[in-house]
């Protein structure tokens, strides 16, 4: 029962993402409240589950989705999940409050909260998934929703480019991750985490392990901005600061290290894991720490510091030891807390002073002492000063680097690198505080800085208080959370044993403490010498723009893709048709190669009537081609083809098809007439004799291969599926018209799809036609003007009584469709033709005055009705679109049959009318000059 709360926790923000968008009409505060309420409820639900997890339980929720593909809606809540879900929802709540005061009047706030909730849901999905494929879906969703968040200020080019960069890199990593997870599932035989985490030996002994590991790490490293993919993160700083505070402290970039932690029991511990993960982490740690010092942009400094801290966490997991993983999890918590507060403080400074340039921002202490105090605490935590939370995990980190032996004689590399990174971390933390709040007076700021609104500081205060509480009383605050999260990271289950670790602030005089002292002293020294270092840095490193390089390469790849596409797709319809037909011929030929053409059966008898029909068909097809340049003549020839086909249907006992073919034929002719009106009546000769020869050859080959195929099939014995339909139509579908029962019952889902496509196509055509300006021909090819009488009286008068008659026929066809030739499709076409006749005979204005039908709504209603009929069978516990029927007797009328398939058929009927008229009426409108329309009204 409790586990059933898990999907609700994810669904609340996912479905609720629309709420703030709607609530914005009630004002900005209402919008913020709705977002806060949703995440607050989700947080509350989560908290009710926490005691169970702390007690050592792993909650699993499972709903089969596509079990055949291993994809299930399986959710899992263990210690690691609790930790991340708490961070996501808790910091999310604070960000929502903060953003309410950060965003200006001009920013669309509803959309902001909508995106934020969507992102929140995606993150929750990632951390709560039990099924790896499900996790991947949410993973992609985080990429997409973070794209929307980073590009929130869409009027700014840097925001758009930053968003695109982040999406390209994390999305590309997602593809690698997909491949990696598929391999992982292949190796361990399941996509469920419980199975994967329990098959460590199988996975690491498998020959595909290296490939799997590299692919999964690519996904994690791109997301967590590890070297060499780190460069998207600083560009993502173009986002509003609340977004940065959320994405780069607790969520988006933490998804990568979350993945490392999640799969730690299955993948970690090998030599390859150590070199790849710890190596990448070390490089990123140093690179980020070094660059952070030299950024003049406040958020730039924080961005690189984030990269560096992510490198630290990656390094810790890369060590592959249980204690390393504990320290990694601990640092995830601490970093999330202090980095979120630092981003918020930076946002306040930017908001109140108008710039983020540390060369201008000086001496803000006098203007905003409160904010300055908060920022100082957070920065001290970032630097790893004792009594702040950052110190604890950094101390653990230092201790872990000392106890590692993979590198043999080079074992000193790790602690030295760690200390060096610590030195830089202290230096940039001091710079963040000293440059901004002290260091003289501000230099021409756009605004006079002052303290922000009260509630903008509240989230920062809460986070800073947490920094102190965790830093001073770790055992009373963070210990249970850390213990359960670390246990599930190391063991894959909550209950497993953990190595001993101590959360005390004071461990006595030891090597890690010495490393901390060196870091703090060295950092202070570097900060004092910063001006010389800045000069040296500028001389040594030419500014290297990874983004420009990336964009250039992207352009190049797009160029290749364009050229490749142009080879196949040059815009010529003839070319496409040629390729299509030619490949069909090749496929048929290769399939037929080597097998005897004729089967054992003798060819059937040919009677004179069939032969005559076939000849007529062939002849009219040939003449259509020969006369194709005289378009009207070709059109008439084409209608002969259709007519002969429908006669053939009658001959082979398929009256349904004949009726359909006839009505489709009529609609087509009207459609083509309308289109031909805008085209010259003569086509110019465009093809060279060579091309005609080629096409002729191709046509002969295609026609020949179809004939051969038909011959081959007809001379072989085969079992059709027709017998099944014949036998089950009446008993299973309740109708004796097999064709109709196939359409509405056996293959009802196909029909639903077709009707939907029909509707979409019609709406697409209308969209293409809207606003189209075409040159109206005023005369025919010979220069004779059109007749002056637009709507001949006899036609108009006679066509009117035809409408009710035709409608009666349509209803008749519709009603008897289940048992006799007819059905919704034919009835829809007949109705459509009758209505079109009114348009043709009496004009658009006349018809629309008398008939207020919105064809788009009609089409939609039809599709909806058909879809809902299918849903109805769910209510009775049957599969989708199961038809049910019964026979009823009424006095006077006698016995009659009612089937749910008729409702479905009604939907088809409406959709066919709607989409046919949508296209024809809109095309027709084009052919009527605007002023004549007005005249008629």
């Amino acid at each position: 029962m409790n586990a059933a709360l898990l999907p609700i926790i994810i669904l609340l923000p996912l479905l609720g993402a629309l709420l703030p968008v709607l609530a914005i009409r009630l004002g900005r505060t209402a919008s913020a409240w709705s977002a806060a309420a949703l995440s607050g409820i989700a947080l509350g639900l989560l908290l009710t589950l926490v005691p169970q997890v702390f007690a050592g339980e792993t909650l699993l929720y499972r709903l089969d989705w596509l079990p055949a593909y291993g994809l299930n809606l399986a959710l899992r809540l263990d210690g690691l999940g609790v930790l991340f879900a708490l961070l996501i929802l808790g910091i999310g709540l604070l960000v929502i409050l903060y953003a309410r005061y950060y965003l200006s009047e001009h920013d669309p706030m509803g959309r902001f909260y909508g995106f934020l909730l969507l992102f929140m849901a995606a993150m929750l999905g990632v951390v709560l998934s039990e099924n790896l494929l499900l996790m991947l879906i949410f993973w992609e969703l985080t990429s997409l929703s973070s794209f929307l968040l980073i590009g929130y200020w869409k009027h700014r080019a840097d925001a758009r480019q930053g968003a695109r960069l982040a999406l390209t890199i994390t999305g590309g990593g997602g593809l690698a991750l997909l491949a990696g997870i598929l391999l992982l599932g292949h190796i361990s035989g399941s996509y469920e985490l419980s199975v994967v985490l329990a098959s460590t030996e199988t996975i690491q002994a498998h020959p595909l392990y290296p490939a799997t590991l590299v692919l999964i790490l690519l996904g994690a490293f791109t997301k967590s901005a590890q070297f060499p993919f780190h460069f998207w993160l600083p560009h993502a700083m173009a986002a509003p600061t609340p977004v940065s505070a959320y994405l780069h402290s607790a969520t988006m970039v933490k998804a990568g290290v979350f993945l490392l932690a999640r799969l730690f029991p299955a993948l970690a511990g090998s030599e390859l894991w150590f070199y790849l993960v710890a190596g990448t982490g070390m490089v990123t740690l140093l690179l980020g720490a070094y660059h952070a010092l030299f950024k003049h942009d406040l958020k730039g400094l924080l961005a690189y510091s984030t990269i560096s801290h992510l490198g630290l966490i990656t390094l810790l997991f890369g060590l592959g030891t249980p204690l390393g993983a504990v320290a990694g999890v601990f640092h995830i918590i601490n970093h999330a807390i202090f980095k979120a507060s630092l981003f918020m403080a930076a946002g306040i400074i930017d908001h109140e002073s108008g710039t983020r340039d540390m060369r201008k921002l000086n001496g803000l202490w006098r203007y905003m002492p409160h904010t300055a105090t908060l920022a100082m605490v957070a920065a001290a935590s970032m630097a790893g000063v004792p009594l702040f939370n950052g110190f604890l995990s950094k101390e653990m980190f230092f201790a872990e680097t000392l106890h590692h032996s993979w590198l043999g004689a080079w074992h000193w590399l790790l602690p030295v690198g760690a200390t060096l990174a610590g030195v830089f971390a202290v230096a940039y933390s001091i710079r963040f505080i000293h440059d901004v709040f002290f260091n003289g007076d501000p230099i021409d700021l756009p605004r006079t800085p002052h303290e922000p609104p009260r509630y903008m500081k509240v989230p920062v205060e809460i986070l800073v208080a947490l920094c102190l509480l965790v830093g001073i009383f770790p055992a009373w605050t963070v210990a249970p959370l850390l213990a359960s999260a670390a246990a599930s990271t190391v063991n894959g289950t909550v209950g497993g044993a953990l190595p001993h670790y101590s959360l005390a602030v004071w461990h006595g005089f030891n090597l890690p403490l010495l490393m901390s002292v060196i870091a703090i002293a060295g950092g202070a020294l570097i900060y004092v010498l910063r001006h010389q270092l800045f000069a040296l840095h500028a001389r040594l490193f030419r500014p290297f723009d990874a983004k420009a390089l990336f964009e250039r390469q992207l352009e190049q790849i797009i160029g290749y893709a364009r050229r490749l596409t142009a080879l196949l797709e040059n815009g010529s319809l003839q070319r496409y048709l040629m390729l299509l037909v030619a490949s069909a011929v090749v496929l048929v030929a290769s399939g037929l190669w080597g097998s005897p053409l004729s089967g054992p059966l003798p060819a059937g008898e040919v009677d004179a009537v069939t032969l005559a029909g076939a000849l007529a068909l062939a002849l009219s097809a040939i003449t259509t081609t020969l006369w194709h340049r005289r378009r009207l003549v070709a059109l008439i020839q084409l209608s002969v083809v259709g007519l002969v086909v429908s006669i053939a249907f009658v001959r082979f006992a398929a009256p349904d098809l004949a009726l359909t073919q006839l009505s489709v034929e009529m609609v087509t002719i009207i459609l083509l007439m309308l289109v031909l009106y805008f085209l010259p009546q003569q086509s110019p000769a465009e093809s060279s004799p060579l091309r005609i020869g080629r096409d002729l050859l191709l046509a002969v080959a295609a026609g020949g291969s179809v004939a051969l195929l038909a011959w081959g099939v007809l001379t072989r014995p085969y079992q059709t599926i027709g017998d099944y339909f014949m036998a089950n139509s009446l008993s299973g579908g309740g109708g004796s018209n097999v064709v109709n029962v196939i359409l509405v019952d056996f293959r009802g889902f196909d029909t639903l799809g077709e009707v939907t496509v029909l509707g979409i196509a019609a709406i697409g055509i209308v969209m293409m036609l809207s606003g189209l300006q075409l040159k109206m021909p005023t005369a025919d090819a010979a220069g004779r003007p059109w007749a002056r009488e637009r709507y001949p009286m006899i036609l108009a008068v006679i066509s009117r009584p035809l409408l009710p008659l035709a409608l009666v026929v349509a209803i008749y066809l519709m009603l008897r469709g289940h048992n006799m030739p007819g059905g919704g499709f034919i009835a829809g076409l007949v109705t459509a033709i009758a209505l079109i006749l009114q348009y043709v005979a009496s004009g658009i204005a006349w018809t629309q005055q008398r008939m207020h039908l919105d064809y788009i709504k009609l089409t939609a209603a039809g599709v909806l009705l058909a879809a809902l009929t299918g849903l109805g069978s769910w209510a009775f516990g049957y599969p989708y679109l199961t038809s049910s029927f019964g026979h009823f007797t009424l006095p006077l009328l006698g016995e009659f049959e009612l089937a749910t398939a008729m409702l479905f058929d009604l939907g088809v009927f409406l959709a066919v009318i709607g989409s046919t008229l949508l296209v024809l009426a809109n095309l027709g409108k084009l052919s009527v000059l605007k002023h004549t329309l007005k005249e008629e009204r």
Binding site: R784, A787, E789, P792, I794, L795, I798, S799, P801, L802, L805
Partner: protein
């Protein structure tokens, strides 16, 4: 007896259809040719429908009158389409034979 009757009407209808088609091919100008198909659609189809009514009424249990609906539709639409064709021809001032009657009234 019934069979002879049905065959008679079918033959009459077929004959009219044949004559109409023949005329459509052989008559010299558009206005004359217009007469051909009108014969085929009215008298030709009419004959066959009568044959059909007799056949199905004698073989089925009840009187078969569906076919009359076909006649009704045909009687409404055939003259209109012929009328529209003639109107179009007049508008386009198609060539007509010297011998065609009433040609000067046009």
């Amino acid at each position: 007896m019934i069979e002879i009757l049905v065959s008679f009407f079918l033959l009459v209808g077929a004959a009219f259809a044949l004559i109409g088609s023949w005329g459509l091919v052989h008559l010299p100008d558009f206005y004359l040719r217009l007469h051909g198909p009108t014969k085929a659609t009215t008298l030709g189809v009419g004959g066959m429908i009568i044959g059909s009514v007799i056949y199905f009424s004698s073989h089925g249990e009840t009187l078969s009158l569906h076919e009359l609906l076909v006649t009704l539709f045909l009687f409404i639409t055939a003259p209109v389409s012929a009328h529209m064709l003639a109107k179009a021809a007049l508008h386009l001032q198609l060539r007509s034979e010297e011998r065609t009657r009433n040609r000067n009234d046009v």
